[in-house]
C-alpha cells in the first residue's frame, strides 16, 4: 500500500490521460461517425462512395498501423501534430468513427422506411428528415452497439502507450520495470484504472437503453 501512495501522483495522471484520450476521441468519433453515416444513406452517390471508402479503409486497418501512419508517416508530407496526445486522439477518433458509422447505419436501417417517407411528404428536406425524424430514432436503437464501440475505444487507448503517451498502459510498463517485486499490485492498479472507466459506462449504457426505449 505504501508503494501505491508513493506513486499516487503518477497513477492519477496516467488515469486522467487514459480517460481524456477516451472521452475526447470518443466525442470526435461520434461526430465524425454521424456525418459518415449520413453520407452513407444520402441520395448522392459520390457521398455514399466516399463514406464507404473511408469506412472500409479504417475498419480494415489495424489501429496500431493507423497510429504509425499518423505519428511517423505524415512527417514525410510535413504534417506534424502539436503533441503526441493529439496524434493519439486523431488516430483513435479516425479509426473508431468507422465503427460508429456502421453502428449508426444499422440503426438508421432499422427505422421503418415509412418514417422518412412521412417526413419527406411533409416537405422536410433530406437533412431535416435525417436530423429530426430518422437519427433520433436510430440513436435509440444503437445504444447497445455504440456502448460496445465505446468500451472497445476505452481499451484501445492503450495503444497510445507505444507512441510516447503516458497513459495507464505506459505506467504499467514503467512501474513494472522499476518495481519487479510489486508486479501484481501494479497490474491490479492499472486494470482497476480501466475498470473504473468501463464498468460505470456499461451501467450507464443499460440505463440509457431503458430510458430511451420507444414503444412502437
Amino acid at each position: 500500500m505504501e508503494f501505491l501512495s508513493e506513486n499516487w501522483g503518477l497513477i492519477q495522471s496516467a488515469f486522467l490521460t487514459t480517460l481524456s484520450l477516451a472521452v475526447v476521441s470518443g466525442i470526435c468519433a461520434l461526430l465524425l461517425g454521424t456525418v459518415l453515416a449520413a453520407m452513407r444513406v444520402s441520395p448522392i452517390p459520390a457521398l455514399r462512395g466516399l463514406a464507404t471508402f473511408y469506412v472500409e479503409i479504417f475498419r480494415n486497418t489495424p489501429l496500431t498501423v493507423v497510429f504509425f501512419f499518423l505519428v511517423f508517416g505524415l512527417v514525410y508530407v510535413d504534417v506534424q501534430f502539436p503533441s503526441r496526445f493529439i496524434a493519439a486522439v486523431a488516430a483513435l477518433a479516425l479509426y473508431t468513427a468507422a465503427f460508429v458509422c456502421e453502428a449508426l447505419r444499422s440503426g438508421i436501417n432499422a427505422v421503418p422506411a415509412g418514417q422518412a417517407e412521412a417526413a419527406r411528404a411533409l416537405g422536410l428536406d433530406f437533412r431535416q428528415s435525417l436530423t429530426t425524424v430518422v437519427l433520433p430514432q436510430a440513436f435509440r436503437t444503437v445504444v447497445p452497439p455504440l456502448g460496445n464501440v465505446w468500451i472497445a475505444l476505452a481499451k484501445n487507448t492503450s495503444i497510445a502507450a507505444g507512441f510516447a503517451v503516458t497513459d495507464l498502459t505506459a505506467l504499467l510498463q514503467r512501474l513494472a520495470n522499476a518495481n519487479a517485486d510489486q508486479l501484481l499490485l501494479v497490474f491490479a492498479a492499472v486494470v482497476l484504472g480501466y475498470l473504473v472507466i468501463t464498468l460505470p459506462s456499461a451501467y450507464g449504457i443499460s440505463v440509457l437503453e431503458r430510458r430511451l426505449a420507444i414503444v412502437r
Partner: protein, 251 residues
C-alpha cells in the same frame, strides 16, 4: 364544389409511365384533377393504384411523362421538391406517425420546420386540428398509445397542418380494424364536403359513392375506366370493371 380559379387542373398527369424492373406498373396514365374535386382510385391489388398515388408527390419517381401540380412541373430531388411536397398532404396506409414524438409534436413538426411558424402558432393550430379530427384529448400521448383509427386521424391532422392544396390518401383504412374504419372515413367525408381536393386510393365503395366526384378504375397499370360514382357502380362499361365489381359488391 369545383371552384376553378383558372382553367388549369390542379393536378395533371400526362403520359406517365413507370417500370419496377421488368414490371410496367404505370402505363400511359393521363389524369387531370380539378380544384375541389374528389377522385377515388380503385382496382385490384397490383393494379398500380398505390404507385400512382405515390408518384404525385414523387415518393416514387416516374420514368416517362409529366406531372404538374398547380401548373408547376414536379422538380427533381432537392429543395424545390421539398417545397412542392409541403403543398401536397399525404396519408399512408400504415399511418407513419413519428414514433418518438407526441401526437401534438407530430402535428407541429411540419409547420415549424418547413413553414417556419412560431411554436405558439403551430401549437394553437395543431390543437384545433386535433380537436377537429376528434383526438384532442390524446395530444400528449405517443402514437403507439393510440388505436389505429386514432393514429390515422392524427395523420390526417398532421397533413392538414401544412394547409395543403391537395390531399393524397394511400389506402388509409386498409390497416384498420373494421370498427375503426368509419371514424376515419367520417373525417375524410367532412374534408371532401369542405371542398378539399382529394385523391383517394381505397377499397371503401361506400365512401366512393358518398364523397367522390369521380371514380377511376385501374387494372394492370392502366386507367381502364373513369366515371361518376353512380354511373360507375350501376353501369360500368368495361368487362374488367364489371368483373371486379361483381366480386366485391356481392358480399
Amino acid at each position: 364544389m369545383t371552384s376553378r380559379t383558372n382553367g388549369e387542373p390542379l393536378v395533371r398527369l400526362a403520359g406517365v409511365n413507370k417500370w419496377f424492373g421488368e414490371l410496367h406498373v404505370l402505363q400511359d396514365i393521363d389524369l387531370a384533377i380539378d380544384r375541389g374535386e374528389v377522385v377515388v382510385v380503385i382496382g385490384p391489388s397490383g393494379s398500380g393504384k398505390s404507385t400512382l398515388c405515390r408518384t404525385i408527390n414523387r415518393l416514387e419517381a416516374i420514368d416517362k411523362g409529366e406531372i404538374t401540380i398547380d401548373g408547376q412541373r414536379l422538380p427533381e430531388e432537392g429543395k424545390e421538391l421539398a417545397r412542392l411536397r409541403s403543398d401536397v398532404g399525404m396519408v399512408f396506409q400504415s399511418f407513419n406517425l413519428f414514433a418518438h414524438k407526441t401526437i401534438l409534436e407530430n402535428v407541429m413538426l411540419g409547420p415549424i420546420k418547413v413553414r417556419k411558424q412560431s411554436k405558439g402558432d403551430a401549437q394553437k393550430r395543431a390543437r384545433e386540428l386535433l380537436d377537429r379530427v376528434g383526438v384532442g384529448a390524446q395530444a400528449d400521448k405517443y402514437p403507439a398509445q393510440l388505436s389505429g383509427g386514432q393514429q390515422q386521424r392524427v395523420a390526417i391532422a398532421r397533413a392538414l397542418a401544412m394547409d395543403p392544396k391537395v390531399m393524397l390518401f394511400d389506402e388509409p383504412t386498409s390497416a384498420l380494424d373494421p370498427e375503426m374504419i368509419n371514424e376515419v372515413l367520417d373525417v375524410m367525408t367532412s374534408l371532401a364536403r369542405d371542398g378539399m381536393t382529394m385523391i383517394v386510393v381505397t377499397h371503401e365503395m361506400g365512401f366512393a359513392r358518398r364523397a367522390a366526384n369521380r371514380v377511376v378504375f385501374m387494372d394492370g397499370g392502366r386507367i381502364v375506366e373513369s366515371a361518376e360514382p353512380e354511373t360507375f357502380f350501376t353501369n360500368p362499361t368495361s368487362d374488367r370493371a364489371k368483373d371486379f365489381l361483381s366480386k366485391i359488391l356481392n358480399h
